[in-house]
Subunit: 408 residues, 2 copies
């Protein structure tokens, strides 16, 4: 199950980036399970990583290498089928062996190769298979390899998630392209979200990191399928500088603004794509909370709604169950919440206010609002000027089936 | 579905308390849906109530009345079939009308009647039906009415939850009896947990409140079905003083200790009963976290595990999925967690340590540990001396069915 048709717009190559997608035999024979990204000299790279204390071996090594190569890696190496998570010290050595092998083949430092893994937790990484597939991958590198790569990083995703934007600024054209995989936060025994983004804009490393952190906060950190945080989450942004502009080093200029806007739009598109393809998803739900004293309390209300199994099963049933929404808002922990001010909307239908069902509300309106695949739940707190939006899915039989049937 | 056979031990009357259970016609004709508890003069009463900001009208009125009668109510009036929640100002008036009608019939002050409701959210309380059933209820009052009352307060519970303990102290016999209903934290569109406890021990009000707060914290606040907090939760403890002892006014004496122990055992028994009868429950799971720096971080880990949909679906599948347990521990937010020290046990089988599968672990052991209806997940943090235990259930197809099929 997934929401919408998932059709992808054309993916634009990013000058300075080439990608290869090959089969290393980690998953079933013939399945593409190894993706290699080559970054031209002059590129640099920033990342945001899982905050899970049990983070996977490749996350630890990728972070180390990114620091050791001063943010200028030559290769990103991604395998699926095995997360190399919950693998202890041997897992760290395995991740380093893969990087070292690619470095030796290509004549770069081992620190210039960032490893990423996604798939089953707790199994030893099949290092030899990965190493043997590297020559093929190097041969296969191509600038228009984004679509194949977006499929190559999938695990139990039902379809690839990728998107491109181009923008024009001060007489020059730029591009930003990205791909991502998801999304359960942990998939069945899988370690989940990976996202790779690249642009040809020249931009300083500190600014690139700030832009990525901000965009991830407003996109990947605003989605939830089941509230579980993966051990392997990673999102990487490459700036190749191939567009030849004077490097952007400070906030506020026209190109900074254009890049920021494009990056945020790209991340939101990919994050929403993860939700639409969430495990067992039959609804795509936007939870928008307005009128909070600060952004955090808006997020607290939005995530309490988005994580509530009772709200999510009601969404699955297309049931306009405003009682469950009120109950979720009421336990979000907001200080001095005056429940008489709170308004609850499904799409644009006011369903509850003054702590009870709205006088104007008719059940047919709620049923009509809940029928489509895409639903907006809007909460008006009426106690401030801040707002926040998160995206989530419903909770279906299929979610239980997918996560219960999958065995270690 | 429910875990275990739910057989109840004999329920002991509490001198000073009489109970009636009658049909007011709120639910289907003939279904008992109104419970009245009469407390003899000299009894007093303390309570703990939901922290949900959208708390139901009867919760607001019961709290008010309890204060206004100085903790000495004469009657507790409980209806099922309608939660009188999400009903705004008219709901408050309805709850007050029920109390006033009973007060008029019995010649007590309206503030001496505490109202409680459980059932569907958002529908007007059928006040007239309740008022018309009061004479019958008054006629029906009897000392051994606990079992009928435990069934009378049920909504979608599949069986009554009640328990008694007697204890002997310094030449005198005492009794404590309680009943509870649950448990989804909100049931399908229902507003959930109610518990009524009574003892014949004479004990001062401040001490009684302290004892109840402590016992509730270690029992009802340590269970979770789905993490949703009801709008109607209430737990009330009555001390009739009918045993004739010198009132207990301070901590530390033999009777204080005996009462405290019996009260905690009663609350744990009832709380576990709510979990065993949780929506769609096929497993009863104890999550025990040892070796924390403080109790709160043990609770954080325990509840993160107990709320994780991925852990709960694995429990449903009897899948010893230690990767999901590690991932849940890792996202519980513990500062400076050294994952290499963490040990994960299923019953007494060590399944993970040093951040990976335990070398000694065999899959057969995990499968055997997960097979029974009752499972203990034990986490050893090895960073302190504190511990905490919570109880929960799995997440089954039936949970989704119960909560998705039920319509507003």
């Amino acid at each position: 199950m997934a929401v919408g048709n998932g059709a992808l717009a054309a993916l634009l190559p990013v000058p300075g980036v080439r990608l290869a997608t090959v089969s290393a035999g980690i998953k079933k024979p013939g399945r593409k399970d190894l993706v290699l990204m080559e970054l031209a000299p002059g590129s640099h790279c920033v990342g945001v990583f899982t905050r899970n204390a049990f983070c996977a071996a490749p996350v630890i090594v990728a972070r180390e290498h990114l620091a050791d190569c001063s943010g200028r890696p030559a290769y990103l190496l991604v395998n699926t089928g095995n997360a190399n998570a919950g693998t202890g010290a041997p897992g760290l050595a395995d991740a380093r062996r893969c990087s070292a092998a690619l470095a030796e083949l290509t004549g770069v430092e081992a620190e210039s190769v960032l490893p990423f893994s996604t798939g089953v937790i707790g199994e030893p990484l099949p290092v030899q298979k990965i190493i043997e597939a590297l020559p093929n991958a190097l041969t296969d590198l191509q600038a228009d390899g984004w679509l194949a790569a977006a499929s190559g990083i999938m695990t139990t995703d039902t379809r690839p998630k990728a998107h491109s934007l181009s923008f024009h600024c001060e007489g020059r054209d730029y591009v930003i392209t990205g791909m991502a995989k998801g999304a359960g936060m942990i998939r069945p025994n899988m370690a989940t979200m990976l996202a790779y983004l690249a642009t040809d804009v020249a931009v300083s490393t500190p600014l690139l990191q700030a832009l990525l952190s901000e965009a991830a906060e407003l996109s990947f950190n605003r989605i939830t399928i089941d509230g579980d945080t993966s051990t392997n989450d990673a999102c990487v942004l490459v700036a190749t500088g191939a567009a030849g502009n004077d490097p952007v080093t400070g906030a506020g200029g026209a190109l900074y603004n254009a890049l920021r806007e494009a990056l945020q739009a790209l991340c939101v598109e990919l994050a929403q794509g993860l939700v639409r393809d969430g495990e067992g998803a039959s609804k795509f739900v936007t939870v928008q909370v307005n009128g909070g004293r600060n952004e955090q309390e808006c997020l607290d209300v939005a995530f309490t709604i988005a994580h509530s199994p009772l709200v999510k099963t009601a969404l699955f049933a297309s049931d306009p169950n405003w009682g469950r929404l009120l109950a979720a808002i009421g336990r979000a922990g907001l200080p001095e919440l005056d429940v008489r001010l709170v308004g609850v909307y499904l799409n644009d239908v006011l369903i509850a206010e003054h702590g009870c069902r709205a006088a104007s509300y008719r059940e047919e309106q709620g049923v009509a609002a809940m029928a489509p695949e895409e639903i907006v739940i809007r909460i008006e707190l009426q106690r401030g000027a801040q707002q926040a939006t998160v995206w989530t899915t419903d909770f279906s039989y299929d979610y239980v089936r997918i996560n219960a049937e999958y065995r270690t």
